[in-house]
Amino acid sequence: MSKLRGETAVVGIGLAGLGQASGWSAIEIMAESAKAALADAGLGLKDVDGLFVSSSTHAMPTITAAEYLGIRPRHFSGTMAGGASFEVHVLTAATALRAGLCDVALIAYGSNQRSAAGRLVSSAEPQVNEAVYDPRQPITAYALATARHMHEFGTTRTHLAEVAVAARAWAGLNPRAFKRDPLTLDDVLAAPMVSDPLSRLDCCLVTDGGGAVVMMRADAARDRPKAPVYLLGAGCAHWHRQIAMMQDLTVTAATQSGAAAYAMAGLGPHQMDMVQLYDAFTINTLLFLEDLGFCRKGEGGSFVSGGAIAPGGRLAVNTNGGGLSCVHPGMYGIFPIIEAVEQLRGEAGARQQVRADTAMVHGNGGTLSCQASCIFGTEATLTA
């Protein structure tokens, strides 16, 4: 068993500026999230000595964030792996905490993508071998993967629509979600195409928003006001940058990151009470449920059919409404972590799961490029 299992825990979570935050800058939303997470942890800025930030708008994110917050961290990381950065930060923060490089790790994100740009923009540099053909990235890359999944496994647009409809049903239970009006399979099937076979309703939202997470070593975490949510396992992997360099468009590096996380936790997919995954597009949910072992490769479509991942279904997936219906400010990766912590604390309100001791949290970055998986558990899972 890994030395990291149960050694660190999330002690604070915070959100800010969800949806539309007109007149707010990205760093302001980040700072409000950090303030909220520290308050939740019963801590102050003066306690933070480890800073983990990724940003679409700041090339030196930890330096910018530390100056804004007025702190002098003794350890920091601003790794940029797209939306998966925050699950990577959890793993990096856990190692840094355990090594004594810091005692209080703050992971934070903020974006004003909706009010500033109004459309899905990527801060990433155009890829020289792609840009000349005018793909609509990142959507086109995911559309290509979807086309391939359909070709190999008979996945249908209705299967994809099930993902969008389930996300919307969860969002209906979450007062913080951006899109809460009912959505049907027919609505999704009738939506205009953006990059075939992905329609507008197969694509994530474009919102503002920020989130932050505070982590500490387990012994110190037990002195905080809220019940600690322990990190049981984590793993990360990336296999390509450009979609043309992805060896098999139906198999992601989540197979590697997930296996590493399960091995560290000593748990398997059948022991997960819920899954919070990065659903930038409907195909993501199918790919990651397959690659993280919740169903066999190619069977994602049938697995999600009949409302199976909607409220009351066989597996709770993206209980906040996900990037499809809750919030998606450029990079979504901090939000699945926060949703899992709320669930494992029993603070999730109308969407609260009865069985909520373990959660698989999965981040995705780039064009299916970077995958990072974290398994969280309650106190009860430490002795299990």
């Binding site: 053909y133 005018d134 559309a143 391939r148 195409m193 043309a244």
Partner: protein
């Protein structure tokens, strides 16, 4: 220490110069025979530096395809495809010479060099039945 010499243009610049001459060139490792595209300074994964330029056959197969939907005022709908070259590597491209809807996975295509915005660009087009490939 070893100093790597960077005399003359790098692989990316050389590829573009070939394309401007109307030649679709890819790289092949002399020792392993493995072909490489996009152009690099080494064989990815194992690092062999013995890459030599060879003329690509131009033959390929559509691995995945999509239609990027755009208003007519912005140029209209167009195809984006991933094509597996006969030599092994995969590239993003557009399949032209047919409607975007007609491009399907498994379709045989061949390379065609066009000029777009004053620069050479690598497209592919369908290989029609009975046509040369």
């Amino acid at each position: 220490m070893t100093l790597s010499r960077t005399e003359g243009p790098g692989p990316e610049a050389r590829y573009r110069a070939f394309l401007a001459e109307g030649r679709f060139m890819i790289q092949r490792s002399a020792s392993t025979g493995t072909c490489v595209f996009y152009p690099r300074t080494l064989l990815p994964g194992s690092g062999e530096g013995d890459l030599e330029w060879i003329e690509a056959s131009g033959r390929g197969t559509v691995y995945a395809t999509t239609i990027v939907r755009r208003p007519a005022t912005e140029g209209g709908d167009h195809n984006i495809a991933l094509v597996d070259l006969a030599e092994g590597p995969r590239t993003m491209t557009r399949v032209v010479g047919c409607a975007p809807e007609e491009v399907v996975i498994g379709m045989a295509v061949r390379a065609r060099i066009d000029v777009r915005d004053g620069a050479p660009i690598l497209y592919f087009e369908p290989v029609r039945d009975g046509g040369e490939a």
